[in-house]
Symmetry: C2
Subunit: 708 residues, 2 copies
């Protein structure tokens, strides 16, 4: 059997993942949603989330149509490599949207069920919430594999393309998914944090009522936000990383190994690793079973047992797979490096953001001298926390490159040039390795918002302190496992973006012979400047978007407290819907300009200064975006946990001045960690895929070429 006929294994992985997700969904839905009040609350959240996503998709659909039309024009004028790209742009967007939508659907069906199950026992609560997470995790990988495999077969059997053609075409297919993911992350991120910040500022700080209090008009919007931001946004985001890493590795593999006749093999390997990852994740998820009276600590161990077993199993199974396909263990070492780097970044994320470690405790100390020092402390912690991930990614890049056969010794020019592509393939396959067990790591990540929502419902439905304690325990467990998930998300984003950057250079070199990509070329330098600036401006726009949307919520909540009589005594219901509506409008309005930046800036830079500047821009965006994302995510996480740490009774506990300072830190951290930070992960990949898609246009029409 020929290797190129073995790509059907992608379908196997896809079907297994999707069937498993469907089974888990059935399991979750069998649980009861609890009391009538709980059902009503869950329904309002579901309604709000549905309404938001529907309107978000409508807005995005219009933008997609415009870009689709633009792509058709480009294809017609010969400025696009082929006619498949516009259609693949659409399917990527649809699948990515679907990943978010399904994740959101199951999450909004699981929150009341989790609260109700937690009413019975902590263990049952975990069970429901985690199963809901697996639905999302396996849907994402299932749809991702499906998208990749379907298009592969279309290009292979309908278009009759060879390996390099397929790879170079498919690397452009990531754009639709990235674009959709960016809208979902930015829009959802603005929604969730506007609601959260708005609810906290008036409710907690001004009116002095607790979090999730039913008297707070913004409380439903806050819970809706968890679903549209943390769940739907994350689903679209990781769908995009997953697919992006496979496609970039296709491209690098095909071009590096074409001369050796190993192109199909080099392309099959990432797909095979992904399928292995699905199966191992599935097995790992079966290990997550707890005793009836387990405490929080043992729950964490159980979750870890599941994820680590899946990773270890994948590490073992990938060895023979890599050897069989590539005839050596070179690529395998790169895969291992990817897995290890993901774990290591996750570990340092935890060190910098968990209150069981020194940094967050020191940040809590800073609350003793007020909110200014709390802010300075958090910013400084976040900036310092970039060191470890950068060093880890740097080591991963170098080791993966060397392991896969690359040479860094430029003195031996012949060897250096000949081995260069193979080394780069190592970087791509490391990203695939890092994301191979995404099914289960995403499950442990996605269950957090469900537990958070369950806590909200428990509070609003008056289920009593014990249930709230249990959902809080689940939530805080989720925060810990989410740290690892974030490590994988951010590490894979950086590696994938680099792989895409290199693919871009490959694509451009096929179109023009004359390129000076040396760092001393002013066009490259200016590109780096613009790329770095783009990440700062993008982060700024998402943050100011949150702020503007939050301020409108503040005004509305204040108005309701003033105008609706009896609201504070619980005699009258607040108007939840108006807050949901305001958040929706605000988020949709604020999401457009930062998202469009990611398309417009690379294209304009290219049109003005040519492809060299675009390469510089991609380098600048990737590196600066990575550092900013780590900085903002970790600062936000540390502020959040410093506040929770104080709430356990240290530094004066809840209600003290120290606690107030910590709440201010947490509020600043919200748009950091849940809007700007994760959106930057997508930005860096979207810029690359946009550049690849528009490469023919830019190579042929740019000012420097015209000047010369």
């Amino acid at each position: 059997m020929r290797i190129e006929d073995l790509f059907w294994i992608g379908f196997v992985g896809a079907v297994v993942a999707l069937v498993f997700a469907f089974v888990q969904r059935g399991k979750v839905l069998k649980f009861s949603e609890g009391t009538e009040r709980m059902q009503k609350l869950a329904a309002s959240i579901r309604q709000g989330a549905n309404a938001y996503l529907r309107r978000q998709y409508k807005t995005v659909f219009i933008i997609f149509l415009l870009v689709f039309a633009l792509l058709l024009v480009l294809a017609y004028t010969g400025m696009l490599d082929n006619w498949y790209i516009p259609f693949a742009f659409l399917t990527g967007g649809i699948y990515s949207a679907l990943s978010g939508f399904i994740g959101m659907k199951i999450a909004t069906s699981s929150n009341a069920r989790t609260a109700n199950a937690a009413h019975e026992s902590l263990n049952r609560g975990l069970n429901v919430a985690f199963s809901s997470g697996t639905v999302m995790g396996f849907t994402v990988v299932g749809l991702g594999l499906l998208d990749v495999t379907v298009w592969f077969h279309v290009l292979r059997y309908v278009a009759g393309y060879d390996a390099v053609q397929i790879a170079q075409t498919m690397v452009m297919f990531g754009m639709g998914a990235s674009f959709m993911a960016l809208f979902a992350r930015v829009g959802g991120g603005i929604y969730t944090k506007a609601a959260d910040v708005g609810a906290d500022l008036v409710g907690k700080v001004e009116a002095g009522i607790p979090e999730d209090d039913p008297r707070n008009p913004a409380t439903i919007a806050d819970n809706v936000g968890d679903n549209v931001g943390d769940v739907a946004g994350m689903g679209a985001d990781l769908y995009e990383s997953y697919v992006g890493s496979i496609l970039a590795t296709f491209a690098l593999g095909a071009s590096a190994f074409a001369a050796d006749g190993l192109a199909w093999r080099a392309m099959l390997l990432p797909l095979a690793v992904a399928v292995v990852g699905v199966l191992c994740s599935l097995l790992g998820s079966f290990l997550i079973k707890t005793k009836e009276n387990a405490d929080q600590r043992s729950l964490l161990q159980t979750l870890r047992k599941g994820t680590y077993s899946a990773a270890a199993l994948a590490a073992v199974v990938c060895a023979p797979v890599s050897y069989l396909l590539m005839g050596s263990f070179r690529a395998y070492i790169a895969i291992l490096i990817g897995l290890a780097a993901g774990c290591a970044i996750g570990y340092f994320t935890e060190v910098y953001t968990s209150d069981t470690y020194k940094p967050t405790q020191t940040l809590a100390d800073a609350t003793e001298t007020g909110s200014a020092t709390t802010i300075i402390g958090g910013l400084s912690l976040g900036m310092k926390s970039t060191a470890a991930p950068v060093v880890i990614i740097s080591i991963a890049i170098i080791v993966a490159f060397l392991a896969a056969g690359g040479s860094l010794n430029t003195a031996d020019q012949a060897l250096y040039t000949a081995s260069f592509g193979k080394g780069l393939y190592g970087i791509g396959i490391a990203a695939v390795g890092m994301l191979s067990t995404l099914g289960i790591t995403l499950a442990t990540d996605a269950y957090g918002p469900v537990a958070d929502n369950a806590g909200g419902i428990a509070e609003m439905a008056g289920l009593g302190a014990e249930v709230r304690e249990r959902t809080d325990a689940l939530d805080s467990l989720g925060n810990t496992t989410a740290a690892t998930g974030k490590g994988f998300a951010i590490g894979s984003a950086a590696l994938t973006a680099l792989a895409l950057l290199v693919s871009y250079v490959d694509v451009v070199k096929g179109k023009t012979a004359a390129l000076d990509l040396e760092l001393t070329n002013p066009a490259v330098l200016v590109g780096i400047f613009v790329g770095v600036m783009l990440t700062f401006v993008f982060a700024s726009l998402t943050m100011s978007g949150v702020q503007r949307a939050a301020q409108s919520i503040v005004v509305e909540v204040r108005r309701q407290f003033r105008d609706i009589p009896g609201i504070m005594e619980g005699a009258a219901d607040p108007d939840y819907a108006s807050c949901v509506d305001l958040c929706t409008k605000g988020a949709l309005h604020e999401m457009v300009s930062p998202s469009l930046l990611a398309i417009i800036v690379p294209v304009i830079t290219g049109l003005l200064l040519g492809p060299e500047a675009v390469v510089g821009l991609l380098g600048g965006v990737t590196v600066s975006g990575f550092a900013l994302a780590v900085f903002m995510s970790n600062a936000g996480g540390a502020w959040d946990n410093a506040k929770k740490y104080i709430e356990t009774g240290t530094h004066g506990g809840k209600g003290s001045d120290q606690h107030k300072a910590a709440v201010i830190g947490d509020t600043v951290g919200d748009p950091f960690k849940d809007t700007a930070g994760p959106s930057l992960n997508i930005l860096i990949k979207l810029c690359s895929t946009v550049s690849i898609v528009f490469s023919t246009l830019i190579v042929n029409c740019n000012l420097t070429a015209l000047l010369g």
Copy 2:
């Protein structure tokens, strides 16, 4: 007469500048220091500043000796290009320290005199303060020209070097000045902000006493801080930029024009531009004369008339000079671009930080919803404000490159390669043009802290509200002119760093043939990662240094309020000296590790991954450092001015909740704009000069070469 014998003009510029500075010093000292109380206060500030600088120089001296010894060892083992470098390292450090010291000396002699003169009239106050600023401005340029010219003549007539040898040796001479400047900026910056934050947190926020109240034990330390941070630090900083830009342009000019036989001419041009700048600055400073009853607005116009006339005059005179030396107006256009870019960046700095424009007013609006939104708003404003400077610098780079004869059209490979060096020379000469009128722009910048101190003395000596109002007017005028000064400082830092980066590549290419500087080389990419990370970690360390030092001041001030009876009634004097001492110790302790990073990280990166990674690192440091510096400076400036804007009576005015939120923003902004931001400007240049000095070592001993 031969061109290479015309470099004595540097001595002319140096002597004119230094004599003028000395005359201005005499003029200032003729004014009276006022009442006995004022003299006593001025003496304590002088004492504190002297004591700090003495100890700072002692600490730095030890580190300098260690590096000097290391350089001697390298020279001995053949890992350094020649034996002059260690000694030039020392003189650079000494001259830079001297610039800071003289600036501080005159500033601490002028503060009481300014207060006393302001007692008589606003105009007289301006007169004293501005004269004090000119002493500093002209001392810096005079010493800079002296250092450059002396070494040029030593190398030319003692060592007998040719143009390229002189240029390639002298480009290494910036390291001493950069190193000293970094210590001065970081140490001084930590000192001044620790005192400021500490004094504010306990005095203003906890005890509710006004700024500069004599009952506050940290108030003298606060005033000392203005002198050691804002004055001495700034002097050392700009000395380094000034010398660095000239030396980098020497190197680029000599290598680009050697083949045409124009090397001496290309080297004489930056020196001639600098001398022209000195003379024009001198003439400009004579224009700064005001009518006796001038208001604040007309004072600003007067100051602007001085600086703009100097710049315009320099622009006119440089035209024939450039044409005579280079035979065309190519370099001249680059000089104009440099001047224009400096003004443009300064303009946008003002737009983003002055309360007469929208951004700062919007930031003041954010105080309505509390301190969290104030912080988010300021961070978001700062990040957004990176856009304009990056675009301006990008345009300046491209236009200067093209104007000076470079081509960006890589398709015509022969032309591209042949013209490349000349284009880069344009970038260097643009930086020199930007800094040519430093004498007067620095004067308008340096007078601000003097006015600030004068206000403090007026308050402490009880000179009455009218005098305080006048010194406040002078101070706020200083803030506006300082915005322009910052534009020049930051723009020239970026251009100089790029020129140094390119010189580094030149130097390395002379030592090894095999280099792959393309952005796709993993070593280059990892270098960029490390460079970007370095800027974040550096900013973090300086901020946490401020925070730790400030916390120790808070504890001490609280202790004094508690333990010294009668302090709050004004019956007993607080122990000012102990706060001065604590700040000194804290600053010296905290300044060492961030400063050493700038040396250690590039060298270690080079030793591990070779010169390609160092080039990447320099690119990453420069671009990310530029963006971070703009972000932090502008966010800090905007918070400061939003607070002042509220104090004029908007948003509830002084004492309102909005004002409290603004004070928190201002406190966060203090280490942003006065410690981390300006230090980053130096970091980016120090990394380059360090890399150049250690280039032989790194080319010969690095892991990738050994592996290969």
